[in-house]
């Protein structure tokens, strides 16, 4: 996808609209998405959640898995995508926050095919930001804050050596096999050995529920395999 960011301005973008109908069609071919800490539990109801290292920084980030191969979105293929939780990272598109010297500024990717002048939600009405634009800005701010919370969460997990690699050995009904590596999760056993005070702090910060939801969500991998077996049959 081309990215061509422009700072959102009522003068330049007063005619601009974003097609929100079927707006996730662009996401047909993504196999994972970063999550913000506050949405992990919601996303865990639908997707397997793991930790993944950012290839640029080596830092762990929570991700939702949509497929078992690069560019594969099994939820989309099985027509389930619109019924599932939509992560902030996707719903905030085609908007982004860009860093300016003073404060982050709202920007829009004008190369995104959803951005045009004809149909969808306008950004401005009579030079005033629409409710839609305000909501998008608020979501972006949630997302940004969520990534900061992610770092705190990950640092805590690392500090107590709670992150462990998972290797998923997947066998499909047609005999094909695949090994997914590079995924990590929380080590349940080590978690039990964390001292009582830290346990309390984890409870207070909501980490205990987040970790439990994340560990439970691994079961969705089986769902993905089943869905893919179905899709392969048809």
């Amino acid at each position: 996808m081309n990215i061509n960011l422009e700072k959102v301005s009522s003068q330049k973008h007063h005619q601009l609209k974003v097609a929100t109908d079927g707006r996730h069609q662009n996401n047909a071919s993504i196999h994972l998405c970063h999550l913000a800490l506050q949405e992990i539990s919601a996303a865990a109801a639908y997707y397997p959640i793991f930790l993944l290292k950012d290839s640029d920084t080596g830092q762990f980030q929570p991700v939702a898995l949509f497929g078992l191969d690069i560019d594969e979105n099994i939820y989309q293929q099985a027509n389930l995508w619109n019924k599932c939780y939509q992560p902030l990272k996707l719903t905030t598109q085609p908007f982004f926050l860009v860093n300016n010297e003073a404060a982050p500024e709202l920007a829009i990717n004008v190369s995104d095919p959803r951005v045009q002048n004809d149909v969808g939600e306008p950004l401005f009405e009579a030079s005033n930001a629409t409710v839609y634009l305000k909501q998008q800005a608020a979501s972006l701010s949630d997302l940004t804050q969520g990534f900061v919370l992610n770092n705190v969460f990950i640092n805590e997990l690392s500090k107590y050596d709670l992150i462990e690699p998972v290797e998923l050995d997947i066998a499909f009904a047609d005999g094909q096999q695949r090994q997914l590596d590079g995924l990590y999760t929380v080590n349940r056993e080590m978690l039990e050995h964390v001292d009582a005070l830290t346990q309390q702090q984890f409870e207070k910060s909501g980490y205990v529920k987040i970790i439990a939801d994340m560990l439970g969500s691994a079961n969705h991998v089986k769902v993905l395999i089943d869905l893919k077996n179905q899709l392969n049959k048809n």
Partner: protein
């Protein structure tokens, strides 16, 4: 006689003292009440000589066993990655003369010896390039791993370049704060012995007598215990390894050119060679030479000429630090209840970065074989002395190989180096064998060899591709397998060249983000 060993006293800090202290303390749980106690006595005013800034890949295990975070180590000791050594002008002395001794083993090393297949058809590639992808990573200045690789894990086997002074300080803090090593800052003025000749205690100026069951001499050249007290002779090796003087200097990076070489560069000179080691903050460069073959003024001139190529006229303003190298090895390392580690045990020129690796090997052997009591100590000592005599002899052989495989005739230094009188019999024997077959694992079959047969192959065939007589290849399956291995190496080379970041880029990321433990 069978009193259990409870307390190890290390005299002297530096890399030797702290690596030994850390290795024993970590393995024998010194931080707990029932562990073996470790005390390190360091003189408050002895300046530590930072021997060498290059390590072997063994350092990764050594640090990991001490419970050290690689990220923290790299941040605090000005560390860069080292993927081997590039030897320039060692063979003919021509401008384009170079070969590599990489740290990754030849492709399929434990399955098939690729040497003879490469000799038969080298496809225009040097030995190291044909059998190992690492030479190209070094030539392109790439790192041996990714920021997503866990601590100590490698894509390409690697070691480190480090600031030896910072390293000793870092280990000291870790040993005291994390591993329960007792630290005493005091001068050791003498020794109290008992009638068996064992050391009962060392006499310190500031803290009186300090007793122990085993004493480790890490006092460097002064060899306070093994030399001054026990009078164990120091056997000079100058007849074999001529280099006896070093001129060292630190060079800041030029603006706009701050690439960090991911290998040690060793460039041969008329009467010695120049090391060039890239750390994140500076380069460490030095000329080691034989004072019997050249004088200090000429050696300085050669070093300035070398530096002029990279920093121009600034090379005229530098001050060089002169260091004497007295190549040699102690006749014995373990006497009674005293064992020497580091320069007190032996010191050789830094050609293959053997100083730190020998300290690690000594520290590991002492901790793994720590005698249970005084009764078993003499047996352990006897084995230790045999093993380390062997280890030092192998290093001497390996260093000497670099000189005798050279074709240089231009100066007396190079010609004298090939005089059979200067070559140990053990090496002469191997050279005779290797005329008919390549170096193989049978030649170096001890546990924990310092240099494997692969290292000998890289140097021997890097310097003289036709040293070994061509062998008749009779097995067609093996030939096919060899072709597969060559292709595999080509494939890996291509993949890694695409995937790996530059050495500088990764080091900057380690400082900013760090590696994960997993």
């Amino acid at each position: 006689m069978s009193k259990p060993l409870r307390h190890v006293v290390i005299v002297g800090g530096g890399s030797a003292g702290w690596i030994t202290a850390g290795s024993i303390a970590a393995m024998h749980n010194s931080a707990s009440n029932d562990g073996v106690q470790v005390t390190l006595i360091e003189s408050p005013d002895v300046n530590i000589i930072g021997v060498g800034e290059g390590t072997w890949p063994t350092m990764r295990t050594t640090l990991q066993k001490m419970g050290i975070s690689e990220t923290q180590f790299m941040r605090e000791c000005d560390v860069s990655f080292k993927q081997g050594a590039k030897f320039a002008k060692w063979v003919t002395g021509d401008e384009d003369d170079f070969y590599y001794h990489p740290l990754v083993l030849p492709e399929g090393y434990f399955e098939l010896d690729l040497y003879k297949y490469w000799q038969q058809d080298n496809r225009g590639k040097s030995f190291s390039d044909a059998v190992c992808f690492q030479e190209q990573l070094c030539e392109k200045g790439l790192a041996p791993k990714l920021i997503t690789s866990p601590e100590y894990a490698a894509v390409a086997n690697y070691a480190y370049h480090l600031d030896a002074g910072k390293f000793a300080d870092f280990l000291k803090r870790h040993c005291i704060n994390k591993l329960g090593v007792h630290y005493i800052s005091a001068h050791v003025d003498g020794v109290n012995s008992i009638d068996t000749g064992d050391i009962a205690s060392v006499i310190t100026r500031e803290h009186g007598d300090i007793g122990g069951d085993l004493f480790v001499d890490c006092t460097g050249f002064s060899a306070l215990l093994i030399g001054k007290h026990y009078n164990v002779p120091f056997i000079s090796k100058k007849d074999t390894l001529f280099i006896d003087t070093a001129l060292a200097v630190q060079i800041p990076y030029e603006e706009g050119d701050n690439d960090i070489a991911s290998h040690t560069i060793s460039t041969a000179q008329d009467s010695g060679w120049i090391w060039d080691i890239g750390l994140p903050s500076r380069r460490g460069v030095g000329h080691v030479y034989s004072s019997a073959h050249t004088d200090q003024a000429s050696a300085e001139q050669a070093l300035k000429a070398y530096l002029h190529q990279s920093i121009g006229d600034k090379s005229n303003e530098l001050n060089f630090r002169k260091i004497d190298i007295n190549p040699g090895v102690r006749e014995k390392f373990w006497v009674n209840n005293c064992v020497a580690v580091g320069m007190a045990a032996g010191f050789l020129e830094p050609l293959e970065a053997s100083a730190l690796v020998m300290i690690e090997l000594a520290a590991t052997t002492i901790s793994e074989q720590l005698p249970a009591n005084r009764q078993t100590m003499d047996i352990v000592a006897k084995q230790y002395n045999q093993r380390f005599n062997y280890n030092w002899d192998r290093i001497i052989d390996f260093l000497k190989l670099h000189y005798i495989a050279s074709k240089r005739e231009d100066t007396a230094f190079w010609r004298d180096n090939r005089d059979p009188k200067t070559i140990p019999q053990s090496l002469q024997d191997l050279m005779t064998l290797w005329q008919h077959r390549p170096p193989i694992e049978y030649d170096f079959s001890h546990k924990r060899e310092v240099f494997s047969a692969a290292s000998y192959q890289y140097v021997l065939y890097g310097m003289d591709f036709n040293f070994t007589n061509p062998s008749v290849i009779r097995n067609e399956n093996e030939t096919k397998f060899a072709q597969r291995l060559f292709k595999e190496n080509d494939k890996k080379t291509e993949q890694y060249l695409k995937a790996l970041p530059s050495n500088r880029e990764l080091i900057d990321k380690v400082v900013e983000f760090g590696f994960s433990k997993v």
